[in-house]
Symmetry: C2
């Protein structure tokens, strides 16, 4: 069990060092032992987020984190501008609409990212926030959040980013790039097993939270902050202790390697995948200007090749890759290269892919 | 790390067999391997819940499960009758009020459970549901849900039970006792690490879910059911895979031991704790008619003894017990005896307690 190589856009491989920690036993979440661990995590999350503000931890998937961002920042009827470049952009929009937000949408053709000009054109005074996905794994495309963040400087609108599949793998400077709410999941570039999400909130974000009237209990940011800021940091409700322990170990490993070395590793491996894939004569789906360093999407003209490759990769080579989503179902394979990934893993994957063609 | 004996009302000790499984690696949640595990869990949860209906799994604490129950069953303004016998009854009520429910409350004096007569008196035609806690760990008292369930038979109101600290440790027959929504957490009597919650929903519950207009996304019951009922059962969003694997192992262990043997073990150990505690001349807080088999609460007249004992138990004996909550803070110790617990663990705890007096 669990010995397959996970080359998917999450969940990703978890280092043995992290896996091992989880089996050392359960510690009680209202003890100083737990608080010590939770304090370290919170500090290391600030390092990864490149922020001075608290980064909150919730036991849930990344989707729970997106919902948490909506219910903590807004009130019913609030008007927002949202960008979608794929499945996960659509999801963020669906959640916002479900809670009664008035959502203006910039719908970018799949495979591309948005431009600052498009946002400049559409963002208006009534908008309370700009919402977008940093890296959409469905299309393996990234939005230029550095440029967008520079444009958002001193704007009254919140800048809210779904960084679920980017944080830890693709550069994101929360404070310098004026991001007010930044959500990520544990099971992507952070090398932690699935089950936790993390949310960074800026000072401007906290001011918006004060005004939000949407109901929330489990995902209440203020409650999470109050518990985090106790002399012995805790969570309001029982957290997934083994995953918190795993997160502590994985974040330590990122710090040991150095965040910018981690980014560079991702960039190099992504480049290697793209080069080799093109050498094989395959078609990379994503526009060259918006290529992701955490996942590569490859399309096929027919309806059977992608599924056949995905199946053979698993059955013959014990490598799990992902297929396409929605309109790309059956026509795409996606190779994740994020988190606990190195040259050998990528070579093994590319070698298997070549044999499957 | 994690080598302390957890004699608290959750999180509880996790068997080595379960802990070990978690470190075997991450499997992808969209594979047949995962679906096989998730299918087994779902079947074994039905066995533990004594129900024919699907039991849903969410990555969250038990509190998330209570919130999920509220947002999936109701609409704003719905009138309900709720019973509180302690901290967790209050929490369920707070969540219901937060979502705009009109909550009539039966507030039972701490240390006791509610009677069927009190419910009979208060339940009226406008109520859409009766909400209560099976076992409130804050007072170590249980509500007589068998008798209440018999009274609820053929009533139009939903019967919703917070079974977070009872399921797997104290008998609860979801179908026979006419329970429509039954919530539990992983980290109590089920011997699973914290981070998952489970929710059983009756046919009547599903009908109510159809009418509910409160917003929900991450905790959407229908979405969870649709994914669970696929030929290869899955979760809508990435689940906490290591905890799901742990749940599978722990539920297998419960099945191997036999559910009614597990209940009997809990009953015997609870009896042993209560007898010995009384022999020590200590005062059991809970009314004899409502004693819990998963936790025992002991009160002290002064404001220092309880805290001193709790501290010494941890520092000198590596045993974690709980203190009192709210008005009982500093005046109570609570000994959990649920889940992975046996005679030796209880003897070690009682022996240490004796030495701390």
């Amino acid at each position: 069990m669990g010995n397959k190589l996970l080359m998917t856009p999450g969940p990703t491989n978890v280092p043995d060092r992290v896996l091992k920690k989880m089996s050392e036993g359960i510690i009680h979440h209202r003890t100083s032992e737990y608080s010590g661990i939770f304090k370290d995590i919170s500090e290391n999350l600030k390092y990864v987020y490149q922020t001075k503000n608290a980064v909150l931890t919730f036991t849930s998937s990344g989707t729970g984190g997106l919902e948490a961002a909506v219910v903590n920042m807004f009130s019913k009827g609030d008007k927002v501008l949202a960008v979608t470049i794929g499945v996960f952009g659509d999801r963020f929009i669906n959640i916002a609409k479900l809670y009664g937000l008035d959502v203006d949408v910039i719908s970018v053709p799949w495979g591309k990212g948005v431009t600052v000009e498009e946002i400049k054109d559409k963002l208006c005074d009534e908008h309370k926030a700009l919402i977008l996905t940093h890296n959409d794994t469905s299309t393996a495309a990234v939005n230029p959040i550095k440029e967008i963040g520079e444009f958002m400087k001193d704007k009254k609108q919140l800048f809210m980013v779904d960084g679920v599949s980017s944080i830890g793998g693709i550069e994101a400077k929360m404070d310098e790039w004026n991001i007010d709410v930044l959500v990520t999941g544990s099971q992507k570039a952070l090398m932690i097993p699935p089950g936790l999400c993390f949310v960074g909130v800026s000072d401007k974000g906290w001011k918006a939270a004060e005004k939000s009237t949407l109901p929330k209990y489990y995902f209440d940011f203020k409650s999470a902050r109050d518990y985090l800021e106790k002399p012995l940091p805790q969570n309001p409700y029982t957290p997934a202790v083994p995953l918190v322990i795993a997160a502590n170990e994985a974040l330590k490993m990122i710090k040991e390697e150095g965040l910018y070395n981690v980014y560079e590793r991702h960039q190099n491996l992504a480049g290697m995948v793209r080069n080799e894939v093109e050498k094989m004569g395959l078609t990379i789906y994503t526009d060259k200007k918006y290529l992701s360093n955490t996942v590569t999407a490859i399309t096929f003209n027919d309806d059977t090749t992608a599924s056949r490759i995905k199946k053979r990769m698993e059955e013959e080579f014990d490598i799990i890759i992902a297929g396409g989503q929605r309109k790309l179902k059956g026509k795409m394979i996606r190779i994740g290269h994020m988190g606990c990934v190195n040259k050998e893993m990528v070579e093994r994957t590319l070698d298997a892919l070549k044999k499957c063609l």
